[in-house]
Protein backbone atom coordinates (compact mmCIF):
# COMPACT_ATOMS: atom_id res chain seq x y z
CA UNK A 1 0.00 0.00 0.00
CA UNK A 2 1.42 3.40 -0.93
CA UNK A 3 2.21 5.83 1.89
CA UNK A 4 -0.52 8.16 0.59
CA UNK A 5 -3.13 5.45 1.03
CA UNK A 6 -1.70 4.45 4.43
CA UNK A 7 -2.11 8.03 5.66
CA UNK A 8 -5.54 8.38 4.02
CA UNK A 9 -6.74 5.22 5.74
CA UNK A 10 -5.31 6.44 9.05
CA UNK A 11 -7.15 9.75 8.61
CA UNK A 12 -10.47 8.05 7.95
CA UNK A 13 -9.91 5.75 10.90
CA UNK A 14 -9.23 8.78 13.08
CA UNK A 15 -12.51 10.35 11.95
CA UNK A 16 -14.34 7.16 12.95
CA UNK A 17 -12.47 6.56 16.22
CA UNK A 18 -12.75 10.13 17.41
CA UNK A 19 -16.50 9.97 16.88
CA UNK A 20 -16.54 12.52 14.07
CA UNK A 21 -18.53 10.16 11.88
CA UNK A 22 -20.88 9.41 14.77
CA UNK A 23 -21.37 13.14 15.36
CA UNK A 24 -22.10 13.61 11.65
CA UNK A 25 -24.64 10.82 11.84
CA UNK A 26 -26.47 12.15 14.90
CA UNK A 27 -26.61 15.74 13.58
CA UNK A 28 -27.75 14.60 10.15
CA UNK A 29 -30.52 12.37 11.52
CA UNK A 30 -31.77 15.19 13.75
CA UNK A 31 -31.74 17.78 10.97
CA UNK A 32 -33.23 15.37 8.46
CA UNK A 33 -36.05 14.53 10.90
CA UNK A 34 -36.66 18.23 11.42
CA UNK A 35 -36.77 18.82 7.67
CA UNK A 36 -39.12 15.84 7.17
CA UNK A 37 -41.51 17.32 9.70
CA UNK A 38 -41.26 20.76 8.02
CA UNK A 39 -41.81 19.41 4.52
CA UNK A 40 -44.75 17.38 5.73
CA UNK A 41 -46.36 20.43 7.35
CA UNK A 42 -45.76 22.45 4.20
CA UNK A 43 -47.20 19.81 1.89
CA UNK A 44 -50.37 19.45 3.94
CA UNK A 45 -50.94 23.07 4.91
CA UNK A 46 -54.59 24.06 4.43
CA UNK A 47 -54.08 27.74 3.68
CA UNK A 48 -51.48 27.19 0.94
CA UNK A 49 -52.40 26.49 -2.68
CA UNK A 50 -50.87 23.57 -4.54
CA UNK A 51 -49.14 26.05 -6.84
CA UNK A 52 -47.52 27.73 -3.88
CA UNK A 53 -46.49 24.34 -2.49
CA UNK A 54 -44.81 23.49 -5.80
CA UNK A 55 -42.76 26.65 -5.46
CA UNK A 56 -42.12 26.40 -1.72
CA UNK A 57 -40.91 22.77 -1.64
CA UNK A 58 -37.89 23.22 -3.99
CA UNK A 59 -37.03 26.54 -2.34
CA UNK A 60 -37.18 24.95 1.10
CA UNK A 61 -35.07 22.04 -0.10
CA UNK A 62 -32.47 24.52 -1.35
CA UNK A 63 -32.46 26.31 2.02
CA UNK A 64 -32.03 22.99 3.84
CA UNK A 65 -29.23 22.01 1.51
CA UNK A 66 -27.69 25.41 2.13
CA UNK A 67 -27.59 24.54 5.80
CA UNK A 68 -25.91 21.22 4.99
CA UNK A 69 -23.43 23.01 2.74
CA UNK A 70 -22.50 25.05 5.80
CA UNK A 71 -22.05 21.86 7.81
CA UNK A 72 -19.85 20.38 5.05
CA UNK A 73 -17.73 23.53 4.69
CA UNK A 74 -17.29 24.14 8.41
CA UNK A 75 -16.54 20.47 8.99
CA UNK A 76 -13.87 20.64 6.29
CA UNK A 77 -12.31 23.56 8.10
CA UNK A 78 -12.60 21.99 11.56
CA UNK A 79 -11.16 18.65 10.41
CA UNK A 80 -8.29 20.06 8.38
CA UNK A 81 -7.14 22.98 10.50
CA UNK A 82 -5.21 20.80 13.01
CA UNK A 83 -4.13 18.32 10.34
CA UNK A 84 -0.58 19.61 9.89
CA UNK A 85 0.21 22.36 12.39
CA UNK A 86 -1.02 20.51 15.48
CA UNK A 87 0.72 17.31 14.43
CA UNK A 88 3.97 19.21 13.96
CA UNK A 89 3.63 20.90 17.36
CA UNK A 90 2.79 17.65 19.14
CA UNK A 91 5.59 15.72 17.42
CA UNK A 92 3.24 13.19 15.77
CA UNK A 93 4.62 14.06 12.34
CA UNK A 94 8.26 13.82 13.45
CA UNK A 95 8.02 10.06 13.71
CA UNK A 96 6.16 9.79 10.38
CA UNK A 97 8.31 12.11 8.26
CA UNK A 98 11.55 10.36 9.22
CA UNK A 99 10.21 7.24 7.52
CA UNK A 100 10.92 6.72 3.81
CA UNK A 101 7.89 8.77 2.77
CA UNK A 102 7.62 12.05 0.89
CA UNK A 103 6.02 14.97 2.63
CA UNK A 104 3.73 15.31 -0.37
CA UNK A 105 2.50 11.74 0.19
CA UNK A 106 1.63 12.56 3.80
CA UNK A 107 -0.19 15.76 2.88
CA UNK A 108 -2.08 14.18 -0.02
CA UNK A 109 -2.98 11.22 2.19
CA UNK A 110 -4.47 13.51 4.77
CA UNK A 111 -6.38 15.44 2.10
CA UNK A 112 -7.61 12.24 0.52
CA UNK A 113 -8.84 10.82 3.84
CA UNK A 114 -10.67 13.99 4.83
CA UNK A 115 -12.08 14.43 1.33
CA UNK A 116 -13.36 10.86 1.48
CA UNK A 117 -15.23 11.61 4.70
CA UNK A 118 -16.70 14.79 3.19
CA UNK A 119 -17.73 13.01 -0.01
CA UNK A 120 -19.45 10.27 1.93
CA UNK A 121 -21.24 12.83 4.08
CA UNK A 122 -22.29 14.93 1.07
CA UNK A 123 -23.70 11.93 -0.75
CA UNK A 124 -25.50 10.55 2.30
CA UNK A 125 -27.01 13.86 3.35
CA UNK A 126 -28.10 14.72 -0.21
CA UNK A 127 -29.68 11.31 -0.70
CA UNK A 128 -31.44 11.61 2.66
CA UNK A 129 -32.87 15.06 1.98
CA UNK A 130 -33.89 14.31 -1.61
CA UNK A 131 -35.44 11.03 -0.44
CA UNK A 132 -37.41 12.77 2.31
CA UNK A 133 -38.74 15.44 -0.06
CA UNK A 134 -39.69 12.79 -2.62
CA UNK A 135 -41.45 10.74 0.05
CA UNK A 136 -43.34 13.66 1.53
CA UNK A 137 -44.16 15.72 -1.56
CA UNK A 138 -43.27 13.65 -4.61
CA UNK A 139 -40.82 16.29 -5.84
CA UNK A 140 -37.51 15.02 -7.23
CA UNK A 141 -34.88 17.61 -8.16
CA UNK A 142 -33.61 17.42 -11.76
CA UNK A 143 -29.99 16.59 -10.84
CA UNK A 144 -29.58 15.29 -7.27
CA UNK A 145 -26.22 13.64 -8.04
CA UNK A 146 -24.89 16.94 -9.39
CA UNK A 147 -26.15 18.73 -6.27
CA UNK A 148 -24.31 16.25 -4.03
CA UNK A 149 -21.11 16.65 -6.03
CA UNK A 150 -21.29 20.45 -5.92
CA UNK A 151 -21.88 20.22 -2.18
CA UNK A 152 -18.78 18.05 -1.88
CA UNK A 153 -16.90 20.43 -4.20
CA UNK A 154 -17.59 23.28 -1.81
CA UNK A 155 -16.20 21.23 1.06
CA UNK A 156 -13.19 20.10 -1.00
CA UNK A 157 -12.35 23.69 -1.92
CA UNK A 158 -12.43 24.81 1.71
CA UNK A 159 -10.56 21.65 2.74
CA UNK A 160 -7.74 22.50 0.31
CA UNK A 161 -7.50 26.10 1.52
CA UNK A 162 -7.46 24.91 5.13
CA UNK A 163 -4.74 22.35 4.42
CA UNK A 164 -2.67 25.07 2.74
CA UNK A 165 -3.09 27.41 5.71
CA UNK A 166 -2.39 24.58 8.15
CA UNK A 167 1.10 24.12 6.71
CA UNK A 168 2.05 27.53 8.10
CA UNK A 169 -0.46 28.71 10.71
CA UNK A 170 -1.55 27.28 14.05
CA UNK A 171 -4.73 25.22 14.12
CA UNK A 172 -6.81 27.95 15.69
CA UNK A 173 -5.58 30.64 13.28
CA UNK A 174 -6.16 28.30 10.32
CA UNK A 175 -9.71 27.54 11.44
CA UNK A 176 -10.59 31.18 11.99
CA UNK A 177 -9.15 32.31 8.64
CA UNK A 178 -10.78 29.47 6.70
CA UNK A 179 -14.22 30.06 8.19
CA UNK A 180 -13.89 33.81 7.67
CA UNK A 181 -12.93 33.26 4.02
CA UNK A 182 -15.91 30.95 3.50
CA UNK A 183 -18.28 33.45 5.12
CA UNK A 184 -16.80 36.33 3.13
CA UNK A 185 -17.17 34.40 -0.14
CA UNK A 186 -20.81 33.65 0.59
CA UNK A 187 -21.49 37.23 1.61
CA UNK A 188 -19.78 38.48 -1.54
CA UNK A 189 -22.15 36.21 -3.48
CA UNK A 190 -25.13 37.84 -1.74
CA UNK A 191 -23.71 41.29 -2.45
CA UNK A 192 -23.33 40.29 -6.09
CA UNK A 193 -26.97 39.14 -6.14
CA UNK A 194 -28.04 42.51 -4.72
CA UNK A 195 -25.94 44.20 -7.40
CA UNK A 196 -27.83 42.20 -10.01
CA UNK A 197 -31.18 43.00 -8.39
CA UNK A 198 -30.57 46.75 -8.19
CA UNK A 199 -28.44 46.90 -11.32
CA UNK A 200 -25.37 48.22 -9.46
CA UNK A 201 -22.35 47.17 -11.51
CA UNK A 202 -19.80 47.57 -8.71
CA UNK A 203 -21.67 45.28 -6.33
CA UNK A 204 -22.26 42.74 -9.08
CA UNK A 205 -18.50 42.77 -9.74
CA UNK A 206 -17.80 41.96 -6.07
CA UNK A 207 -19.80 38.74 -6.42
CA UNK A 208 -18.14 37.88 -9.73
CA UNK A 209 -14.60 38.44 -8.42
CA UNK A 210 -15.31 36.47 -5.22
CA UNK A 211 -16.49 33.49 -7.30
CA UNK A 212 -12.99 33.32 -8.76
CA UNK A 213 -11.01 34.06 -5.62
CA UNK A 214 -12.73 31.35 -3.56
CA UNK A 215 -15.12 29.30 -5.69
CA UNK A 216 -17.27 27.96 -2.84
CA UNK A 217 -20.19 30.29 -3.58
CA UNK A 218 -19.85 29.60 -7.30
CA UNK A 219 -20.19 25.86 -6.66
CA UNK A 220 -23.09 26.48 -4.31
CA UNK A 221 -24.93 28.13 -7.20
CA UNK A 222 -24.25 25.00 -9.23
CA UNK A 223 -25.92 23.00 -6.44
CA UNK A 224 -28.90 25.39 -6.43
CA UNK A 225 -29.44 24.96 -10.16
CA UNK A 226 -29.22 21.19 -9.80
CA UNK A 227 -32.06 21.30 -7.24
CA UNK A 228 -34.42 23.72 -9.06
CA UNK A 229 -37.20 22.44 -11.32
CA UNK A 230 -36.42 23.72 -14.82
CA UNK A 231 -40.00 24.97 -15.27
CA UNK A 232 -39.60 27.02 -12.12
CA UNK A 233 -36.42 28.68 -13.47
CA UNK A 234 -38.08 29.57 -16.78
CA UNK A 235 -41.19 30.86 -15.02
CA UNK A 236 -39.25 33.06 -12.60
CA UNK A 237 -37.07 34.49 -15.35
CA UNK A 238 -40.06 35.24 -17.57
CA UNK A 239 -41.82 36.99 -14.71
CA UNK A 240 -39.01 39.31 -13.72
CA UNK A 241 -35.31 39.74 -14.32
CA UNK A 242 -35.07 40.65 -10.63
CA UNK A 243 -35.38 36.93 -9.82
CA UNK A 244 -31.69 36.68 -10.63
CA UNK A 245 -31.05 38.76 -7.50
CA UNK A 246 -32.31 36.02 -5.17
CA UNK A 247 -29.28 34.44 -3.45
CA UNK A 248 -31.16 31.10 -3.31
CA UNK A 249 -31.91 31.10 -7.01
CA UNK A 250 -29.66 30.21 -9.95
CA UNK A 251 -30.53 31.24 -13.48
CA UNK A 252 -28.19 28.86 -15.29
CA UNK A 253 -25.97 25.84 -14.73
CA UNK A 254 -22.30 26.43 -14.10
CA UNK A 255 -20.44 27.01 -17.36
CA UNK A 256 -17.77 24.49 -18.34
CA UNK A 257 -15.04 27.16 -18.47
CA UNK A 258 -15.85 28.03 -14.87
CA UNK A 259 -15.63 24.37 -13.84
CA UNK A 260 -12.29 24.11 -15.63
CA UNK A 261 -11.18 27.21 -13.74
CA UNK A 262 -12.26 25.61 -10.45
CA UNK A 263 -10.19 22.54 -11.33
CA UNK A 264 -7.16 24.72 -12.08
CA UNK A 265 -7.76 26.70 -8.87
CA UNK A 266 -7.79 23.47 -6.90
CA UNK A 267 -4.56 22.23 -8.51
CA UNK A 268 -2.88 25.57 -7.80
CA UNK A 269 -3.91 25.63 -4.13
CA UNK A 270 -2.82 22.03 -3.57
CA UNK A 271 0.49 22.71 -5.33
CA UNK A 272 0.99 25.70 -3.02
CA UNK A 273 0.16 23.53 0.00
CA UNK A 274 2.64 20.85 -1.08
CA UNK A 275 5.34 23.43 -1.76
CA UNK A 276 4.73 25.13 1.57
CA UNK A 277 4.84 21.84 3.50
CA UNK A 278 7.95 20.72 1.62
CA UNK A 279 9.72 23.93 2.62
CA UNK A 280 8.49 23.90 6.20
CA UNK A 281 11.21 23.30 8.76
CA UNK A 282 10.27 20.91 11.50
Amino acid sequence: MSPTLVIARLTVREAVRRRLVAAFGVITVLLAALSAWGFDRLSHARNVTSGEVHVAIPQSLIVFMFMFSFVVALSASAMASPSVSTEIESGILLAVLTRPVRRSEVLLGKWLGLAGVLLAYSVVVSALEVGIVDLVSGFVPPDPVGAALYLFGEGAILLSVTVLLSTRLSAIATGVVAVALFGAAWLAGVVGSLGTLFKIGTLRSVGEVARFLLPTDGLWHGAIYALEPRSFVAQRLSQSSAAAGNPFFATAPLAWPYLVFVGAWFVLVMAAALYSFERREL
Binding site: M1, P3, V6, L10, E14, R17, R18, S90, G91, I92, L94, A95, V96, L97, T98, R99, P100, V101, R102, E281, L282
Partner: protein
Protein backbone atom coordinates in the same frame (compact mmCIF):
# COMPACT_ATOMS: atom_id res chain seq x y z
CA UNK B 1 14.03 -11.64 23.94
CA UNK B 2 17.36 -10.96 22.38
CA UNK B 3 17.82 -8.38 19.71
CA UNK B 4 20.02 -10.86 17.88
CA UNK B 5 16.89 -11.94 16.03
CA UNK B 6 16.62 -8.44 14.67
CA UNK B 7 19.85 -8.92 12.79
CA UNK B 8 17.97 -10.52 9.94
CA UNK B 9 17.34 -7.62 7.58
CA UNK B 10 13.69 -6.93 6.98
CA UNK B 11 12.73 -7.04 3.32
CA UNK B 12 10.92 -3.96 2.07
CA UNK B 13 7.88 -4.54 -0.11
CA UNK B 14 8.76 -4.84 -3.78
CA UNK B 15 12.38 -4.05 -3.20
CA UNK B 16 13.84 -7.52 -3.66
CA UNK B 17 16.77 -8.73 -1.66
CA UNK B 18 18.59 -5.45 -1.95
CA UNK B 19 15.88 -3.81 0.09
CA UNK B 20 15.51 -0.10 0.23
CA UNK B 21 18.93 0.56 1.60
CA UNK B 22 20.46 1.84 -1.63
CA UNK B 23 22.10 4.70 0.15
CA UNK B 24 23.46 2.39 2.81
CA UNK B 25 24.67 -0.14 0.24
CA UNK B 26 26.32 2.54 -1.82
CA UNK B 27 28.24 3.69 1.19
CA UNK B 28 28.87 0.44 3.03
CA UNK B 29 32.42 1.52 3.85
CA UNK B 30 31.42 5.06 4.66
CA UNK B 31 30.97 6.29 8.22
CA UNK B 32 27.51 6.05 9.71
CA UNK B 33 27.47 9.85 10.06
CA UNK B 34 29.89 12.40 8.74
CA UNK B 35 29.39 16.14 9.01
CA UNK B 36 31.63 18.90 7.78
CA UNK B 37 31.21 22.45 9.04
CA UNK B 38 27.45 21.87 9.39
CA UNK B 39 25.66 25.11 10.19
CA UNK B 40 22.14 26.22 10.96
CA UNK B 41 20.91 29.74 11.53
CA UNK B 42 17.37 30.75 12.46
CA UNK B 43 16.63 34.41 11.81
CA UNK B 44 19.71 35.82 13.46
CA UNK B 45 20.15 32.96 15.96
CA UNK B 46 22.91 30.46 15.41
CA UNK B 47 21.78 26.98 16.43
CA UNK B 48 24.73 25.15 14.91
CA UNK B 49 27.99 27.00 14.21
CA UNK B 50 30.01 24.55 12.14
CA UNK B 51 29.73 21.00 13.43
CA UNK B 52 32.30 18.55 12.13
CA UNK B 53 32.23 14.98 13.40
CA UNK B 54 32.41 11.39 12.26
CA UNK B 55 30.46 8.49 13.73
CA UNK B 56 31.86 5.09 12.80
CA UNK B 57 29.69 2.18 11.90
CA UNK B 58 28.83 -0.16 14.73
CA UNK B 59 29.67 2.14 17.61
CA UNK B 60 27.56 3.69 20.32
CA UNK B 61 28.24 7.37 19.93
CA UNK B 62 27.32 9.86 22.62
CA UNK B 63 26.36 13.34 21.58
CA UNK B 64 26.65 15.44 24.70
CA UNK B 65 26.02 19.05 25.45
CA UNK B 66 24.14 21.39 27.72
CA UNK B 67 20.59 22.50 26.95
CA UNK B 68 20.52 24.79 23.93
CA UNK B 69 23.88 23.58 22.62
CA UNK B 70 22.37 22.59 19.27
CA UNK B 71 22.03 18.83 19.82
CA UNK B 72 18.45 18.47 18.66
CA UNK B 73 19.04 20.82 15.73
CA UNK B 74 21.94 18.61 14.66
CA UNK B 75 19.74 15.51 14.88
CA UNK B 76 17.01 17.17 12.81
CA UNK B 77 19.58 18.14 10.19
CA UNK B 78 20.81 14.54 10.03
CA UNK B 79 17.25 13.37 9.43
CA UNK B 80 16.42 16.04 6.85
CA UNK B 81 13.71 17.59 9.01
CA UNK B 82 15.41 20.97 8.65
CA UNK B 83 17.71 22.25 5.91
CA UNK B 84 21.29 23.27 6.70
CA UNK B 85 22.38 26.89 6.29
CA UNK B 86 25.79 25.60 5.24
CA UNK B 87 28.19 22.69 5.40
CA UNK B 88 27.53 19.06 4.61
CA UNK B 89 26.06 16.04 6.34
CA UNK B 90 26.24 12.47 5.09
CA UNK B 91 24.31 9.67 6.76
CA UNK B 92 25.03 6.03 5.86
CA UNK B 93 26.83 7.25 2.77
CA UNK B 94 23.99 9.38 1.43
CA UNK B 95 23.17 13.06 1.86
CA UNK B 96 21.26 13.69 5.10
CA UNK B 97 17.50 13.34 4.58
CA UNK B 98 17.80 10.94 1.63
CA UNK B 99 14.45 9.19 1.44
CA UNK B 100 15.67 5.65 0.72
CA UNK B 101 18.35 5.88 3.41
CA UNK B 102 15.67 6.72 5.97
CA UNK B 103 14.55 3.10 5.57
CA UNK B 104 17.74 2.17 7.43
CA UNK B 105 17.33 4.70 10.23
CA UNK B 106 15.36 4.36 13.43
CA UNK B 107 14.61 7.60 15.25
CA UNK B 108 13.27 8.31 18.70
CA UNK B 109 12.50 12.04 18.90
CA UNK B 110 12.97 13.96 22.12
CA UNK B 111 9.50 15.48 22.11
CA UNK B 112 6.95 13.39 20.33
CA UNK B 113 3.52 11.89 20.65
CA UNK B 114 1.70 9.10 18.90
CA UNK B 115 -2.00 9.42 18.08
CA UNK B 116 -3.74 8.75 21.40
CA UNK B 117 -6.63 6.94 19.72
CA UNK B 118 -4.37 4.18 18.35
CA UNK B 119 -3.26 1.21 20.41
CA UNK B 120 0.45 0.50 20.85
CA UNK B 121 0.14 -2.44 18.47
CA UNK B 122 -1.59 -0.28 15.84
CA UNK B 123 1.16 2.35 16.06
CA UNK B 124 3.77 -0.30 15.36
CA UNK B 125 1.78 -1.78 12.46
CA UNK B 126 1.39 1.73 11.03
CA UNK B 127 5.15 2.22 11.09
CA UNK B 128 5.71 -1.19 9.51
CA UNK B 129 3.55 0.02 6.61
CA UNK B 130 5.31 3.38 6.42
CA UNK B 131 8.65 1.57 6.38
CA UNK B 132 7.42 -0.53 3.48
CA UNK B 133 8.16 -3.83 5.23
CA UNK B 134 6.73 -6.91 3.57
CA UNK B 135 3.25 -7.45 4.94
CA UNK B 136 3.91 -11.00 6.15
CA UNK B 137 6.72 -9.75 8.40
CA UNK B 138 4.55 -7.21 10.22
CA UNK B 139 3.12 -9.43 13.00
CA UNK B 140 6.54 -10.81 13.97
CA UNK B 141 8.22 -7.40 13.83
CA UNK B 142 5.49 -5.84 15.96
CA UNK B 143 5.52 -8.70 18.47
CA UNK B 144 9.29 -8.50 18.86
CA UNK B 145 9.28 -4.74 19.29
CA UNK B 146 6.59 -5.01 21.98
CA UNK B 147 8.58 -7.68 23.80
CA UNK B 148 11.83 -5.76 23.56
CA UNK B 149 10.45 -2.59 25.10
CA UNK B 150 8.29 -4.41 27.63
CA UNK B 151 4.92 -3.32 26.30
CA UNK B 152 3.50 -6.68 25.28
CA UNK B 153 0.99 -6.74 28.17
CA UNK B 154 -0.34 -3.31 27.14
CA UNK B 155 -0.21 -3.86 23.37
CA UNK B 156 -3.94 -3.43 22.90
CA UNK B 157 -4.28 -0.34 25.10
CA UNK B 158 -4.79 3.09 23.59
CA UNK B 159 -1.65 5.22 23.57
CA UNK B 160 -3.70 8.02 25.11
CA UNK B 161 -3.83 6.01 28.35
CA UNK B 162 -0.02 5.60 28.48
CA UNK B 163 2.28 7.41 30.87
CA UNK B 164 5.13 9.44 29.39
CA UNK B 165 7.51 6.62 30.21
CA UNK B 166 5.38 4.07 28.39
CA UNK B 167 5.12 6.36 25.39
CA UNK B 168 8.90 6.60 25.49
CA UNK B 169 9.13 2.81 25.45
CA UNK B 170 6.74 2.68 22.50
CA UNK B 171 8.82 5.31 20.69
CA UNK B 172 11.87 3.14 21.21
CA UNK B 173 9.98 0.13 19.85
CA UNK B 174 9.01 2.13 16.76
CA UNK B 175 12.65 3.20 16.27
CA UNK B 176 13.76 -0.45 16.35
CA UNK B 177 11.39 -1.65 13.59
CA UNK B 178 12.97 -2.85 10.38
CA UNK B 179 16.39 -3.71 11.85
CA UNK B 180 17.86 -0.25 11.23
CA UNK B 181 21.57 0.19 10.54
CA UNK B 182 21.53 3.48 12.45
CA UNK B 183 19.40 4.27 15.47
CA UNK B 184 19.20 7.89 16.58
CA UNK B 185 17.95 8.27 20.13
CA UNK B 186 17.23 11.81 21.28
CA UNK B 187 17.16 11.86 25.09
CA UNK B 188 15.78 8.30 25.22
CA UNK B 189 15.66 7.99 29.00
CA UNK B 190 14.39 11.45 29.89
CA UNK B 191 10.98 10.19 31.02
CA UNK B 192 11.97 6.76 32.28
CA UNK B 193 12.27 5.34 35.76
CA UNK B 194 15.45 3.42 36.77
CA UNK B 195 14.06 0.16 35.39
CA UNK B 196 13.24 1.85 32.10
CA UNK B 197 16.73 3.36 31.91
CA UNK B 198 18.26 -0.03 32.50
CA UNK B 199 16.10 -1.48 29.73
CA UNK B 200 17.19 1.23 27.31
CA UNK B 201 20.84 0.54 28.08
CA UNK B 202 20.20 -3.14 27.45
CA UNK B 203 18.56 -2.37 24.11
CA UNK B 204 21.43 -0.09 23.08
CA UNK B 205 24.02 -2.70 23.94
CA UNK B 206 22.03 -5.34 22.03
CA UNK B 207 21.95 -3.03 19.02
CA UNK B 208 25.72 -2.67 19.15
CA UNK B 209 26.05 -6.44 19.45
CA UNK B 210 24.21 -6.91 16.19
CA UNK B 211 26.33 -4.28 14.44
CA UNK B 212 24.01 -1.33 14.40
CA UNK B 213 25.26 2.19 15.03
CA UNK B 214 23.62 4.06 17.88
CA UNK B 215 23.72 7.84 18.01
CA UNK B 216 22.76 8.79 21.53
CA UNK B 217 21.83 12.40 22.11
CA UNK B 218 21.78 12.94 25.84
CA UNK B 219 22.64 15.30 28.61
CA UNK B 220 22.81 12.43 31.12
CA UNK B 221 26.57 12.02 31.44
CA UNK B 222 26.40 8.94 33.60
CA UNK B 223 24.40 7.23 30.90
CA UNK B 224 26.94 8.19 28.24
CA UNK B 225 29.80 7.03 30.43
CA UNK B 226 28.16 3.63 30.88
CA UNK B 227 27.39 2.73 27.28
CA UNK B 228 29.16 4.98 24.76
CA UNK B 229 32.27 3.94 22.84
CA UNK B 230 33.03 7.51 21.84
CA UNK B 231 31.47 10.86 22.52
CA UNK B 232 31.41 14.35 21.09
CA UNK B 233 30.83 17.25 23.43
CA UNK B 234 29.02 20.10 21.73
CA UNK B 235 28.71 23.61 23.08
CA UNK B 236 27.28 26.72 21.43
CA UNK B 237 26.73 24.82 18.20
CA UNK B 238 30.26 23.54 17.83
CA UNK B 239 32.08 20.32 18.82
CA UNK B 240 34.52 21.12 21.59
CA UNK B 241 35.89 17.61 22.13
CA UNK B 242 35.60 14.20 20.52
CA UNK B 243 37.09 10.88 21.45
CA UNK B 244 36.82 7.72 23.49
CA UNK B 245 36.02 8.22 27.14
CA UNK B 246 39.62 7.32 28.05
CA UNK B 247 40.90 9.96 25.64
CA UNK B 248 38.46 12.51 26.87
CA UNK B 249 39.04 11.91 30.55
CA UNK B 250 42.83 11.80 30.08
CA UNK B 251 43.77 8.93 32.43
CA UNK B 252 44.42 9.53 36.12
CA UNK B 253 43.41 12.97 37.31
CA UNK B 254 44.92 12.79 40.80
CA UNK B 255 46.46 10.34 43.27
CA UNK B 256 45.82 10.09 46.98
CA UNK B 257 48.87 8.83 48.88
CA UNK B 258 49.50 7.75 52.44
CA UNK B 259 53.23 7.82 53.20
CA UNK B 260 55.16 7.27 56.42
CA UNK B 261 58.84 7.40 57.33
CA UNK B 262 59.49 10.82 55.82
CA UNK B 263 59.25 14.44 56.91
CA UNK B 264 55.82 16.02 57.05
CA UNK B 265 56.31 17.85 53.75
CA UNK B 266 58.09 14.96 52.08
CA UNK B 267 56.88 16.01 48.61
CA UNK B 268 59.00 19.19 48.55
CA UNK B 269 61.53 17.66 46.17
CA UNK B 270 58.94 15.90 44.01
CA UNK B 271 57.02 18.86 42.60
CA UNK B 272 58.15 17.89 39.12
CA UNK B 273 55.49 15.14 39.24
CA UNK B 274 52.62 17.53 39.96
CA UNK B 275 51.01 19.64 42.65
CA UNK B 276 50.85 18.26 46.20
CA UNK B 277 48.59 19.19 49.08
CA UNK B 278 47.94 17.69 52.49
CA UNK B 279 44.51 16.32 53.36
CA UNK B 280 44.64 14.91 56.88
CA UNK B 281 46.66 11.70 56.83
CA UNK B 282 46.63 11.77 53.07
CA UNK B 283 48.46 13.76 50.47
CA UNK B 284 46.76 14.54 47.19
CA UNK B 285 48.93 14.77 44.11
CA UNK B 286 47.25 16.46 41.13
CA UNK B 287 48.33 16.97 37.53
CA UNK B 288 50.24 13.71 37.40
CA UNK B 289 51.28 12.85 33.84
CA UNK B 290 49.71 9.68 32.33
CA UNK B 291 51.80 6.64 33.37
CA UNK B 292 53.84 8.57 35.95
CA UNK B 293 52.26 7.10 39.10
CA UNK B 294 54.74 4.15 39.38
CA UNK B 295 57.65 6.59 38.95
CA UNK B 296 56.24 8.77 41.74
CA UNK B 297 55.92 5.77 44.05
CA UNK B 298 59.50 4.69 43.18
CA UNK B 299 60.80 8.20 43.97
CA UNK B 300 59.09 8.19 47.37
CA UNK B 301 60.58 4.76 48.18
CA UNK B 302 64.03 5.92 46.99
CA UNK B 303 63.80 8.74 49.54
CA UNK B 304 63.18 6.15 52.27
CA UNK B 305 59.45 6.55 52.49
CA UNK B 306 56.97 3.74 53.07
CA UNK B 307 54.04 3.95 50.70
CA UNK B 308 51.10 2.56 52.66
CA UNK B 309 48.36 3.38 50.17
CA UNK B 310 48.00 4.70 46.62
CA UNK B 311 44.51 5.58 45.39
CA UNK B 312 44.37 6.82 41.80
CA UNK B 313 41.33 9.02 41.19
CA UNK B 314 39.87 9.37 37.72
CA UNK B 315 38.04 12.41 36.55
CA UNK B 316 34.39 11.87 35.99
CA UNK B 317 32.86 12.74 32.67
CA UNK B 318 30.89 15.39 34.47
CA UNK B 319 34.09 17.09 35.68
CA UNK B 320 35.60 16.94 32.20
CA UNK B 321 32.35 18.14 30.67
CA UNK B 322 32.27 21.16 32.96
CA UNK B 323 35.92 21.90 32.17
CA UNK B 324 35.18 21.83 28.46
CA UNK B 325 32.18 24.09 28.79
CA UNK B 326 34.11 26.52 30.96
CA UNK B 327 36.86 26.83 28.34
CA UNK B 328 36.68 30.10 26.37
Amino acid sequence: MSLARWAEPAVPEGAGSVGGAQGADAGRESPAIHTTDLRKHYRGTTALAGLSMTVRRGEVFGFLGPNGAGKTTAVKLLLGLVRPSGGEAMVLGAPAGDRETRRQIGYLPELFRFPGWLSAREVLFLHCRLLGLARETHPAAVGEALETVGLAPRAGDKVGTFSKGMQQRLGLGVALLGAPALVILDEPTSALDPVGRHDVRRVVLDLRRRGATVFLNTHLLEEAQQICDRVTVIDRGRAVATGTLAELLGGVASVRLRVSGLARTWWAGLTGFGTFSAAGEWVVAEGIAPGAVPDLVAAIVARGGRVEAVVPEHRTLEERFLELLAAP
